[in-house]
């Protein structure tokens, strides 16, 4: 009796195996690449968005520091308090007895003092506080809270207040932690730094 192998029990040939392996490799690579790319594009988008938030924080803080009378930073440098002259007449101010004046510029009193001309916008300046609350950076002016930046990338502004004999300025750096890190979070955060200097116009040089 002669036994002959039937087609039903035949296995794959080497070329079929190689072809199958190639196709499956390409499919797996395509799926993996799609996921990786999706994550990467998401990280890029997130990085850009947070970069804009950094600029926004710097812009807000610089504006207030430049027009501030006094700047105080907390010990951890993450909270900044600025006293700003009341340039604008607001509800509740003595001048607001005339409702038409609300929202308009206040006319300062100008007097000559032993230290020179003094421009006075009133006895009670506005208090502006910059602080971190969870994932948000808040600006609080006389109790009114404005969220100026919000990100899940752990935005951290740090401000150093430098007071000299005849002037005062702040150095601010804003950093965040990108989604993709190489394991060295400190270096990754440092690489995102944006720096800014702002001098207080009201404490200008003599």
């Amino acid at each position: 009796m002669k036994l002959t192998p039937t087609k039903q029990t035949a296995g794959f040939t080497l070329s079929e195996m190689m072809l199958g392996l190639t196709i499956s490799s390409v499919v797996v690579a395509a799926v993996t690449s799609s996921i990786a790319l999706q994550k990467s594009f998401s990280a890029v988008d997130n990085y850009f968005a947070t970069l804009m938030q950094q600029i926004r924080i710097i812009d807000y803080l610089n504006r207030d520091v430049k027009r501030g009378l006094i700047v105080t930073t907390s010990v951890d440098l993450q909270s900044v308090t600025v006293n700003v002259p009341n340039y604008i007449i607001q509800s509740g101010d003595p001048e607001a007895a005339n409702p038409a004046l609300i929202g308009t510029s206040r006319t300062p009193t100008i007097a000559y003092t032993p230290s020179g001309w003094q421009v006075n916008y009133g006895a009670s300046p506005s208090t502006v506080v910059y602080s971190i609350n969870g994932m948000s950076i808040l600006r609080t002016e006389n109790g009114v809270v404005t969220t100026i930046a919000s990100s899940t990338d752990q935005l951290v502004p740090q401000t150093t207040d430098v007071e000299l004999a005849n002037t005062e300025y702040t150095n601010t750096s804003v950093t965040f932690l990108p989604i993709f890190t190489t394991g060295n979070a400190v270096a990754e955060r440092s690489g995102t730094s944006i720096f800014a200097t702002a001098y207080m116009r009201n404490r200008l040089r003599g």
């Binding site: 072809l19 390409v26 395509a30 970069l51 020179g116 009201n202």
Partner: protein, 164 residues
């Protein structure tokens, strides 16, 4: 024999599979390159922001000097030895600062700060006056992306006087 039925059951040829795989590989290579371009543009954006901030910070430093210091060539030259801020970007830019009397200049005092921090006085104004000066601050460097030139410039006027 029905050849049509056989054709319907026939699989793809090796050539067809290879072409399909190459197309797929090309497609993904393009997407990865696109992603890499995005990353490079992020770097370019960071450099642009840093350049803008550098000019701004230098301008802030100068506009808050006492007028007598601002019009002193030696004072400004020693001041420029320090970078505008602590960013790494400041180590690759060349800064040019010009100071002149305003509105009628009588010569221009010009300083150039190299990336290594060396400050050179290119020229000294005959007279900067005692009331108002114009300050031009410009920075330039080659960007990481494509080595293209990047420059930012600003101009401001500073008056003599005390503000308390």
């Amino acid at each position: 024999m029905k050849r049509g039925k056989l054709n319907a059951q026939a699989g793809a040829t090796l050539i067809e599979i290879m072409v399909a795989a190459m197309l797929l590989a090309g497609f993904f290579a393009s997407i990865f390159e696109l992603n890499a371009v995005c990353l490079r543009y992020i770097d370019a954006s960071k450099e642009s922001v840093a350049a803008l901030q550098t000019v701004h910070d230098r301008c802030e430093t100068l506009r808050n000097l006492a007028f007598t210091d601002l019009t002193s060539t030696s004072y400004v030259q020693s001041l420029l030895a320090a970078p505008p801020n602590a960013s790494d970007f400041c180590r690759k830019v060349t800064e040019v600062i010009k100071v002149s009397a305003y509105p009628t200049p009588n010569g221009i005092t010009q300083f150039t700060r190299s990336p290594n921090g060396t400050v050179t006085t290119n020229s000294t104004a005959a007279d900067l006056g005692t009331s108002l000066v114009q300050i031009d601050v410009s920075t330039s460097c080659n960007m990481t992306l494509g080595g293209r030139g990047l420059s930012e410039q600003t101009t401001t006027l500073v008056s003599n006087g005390t503000k308390k």
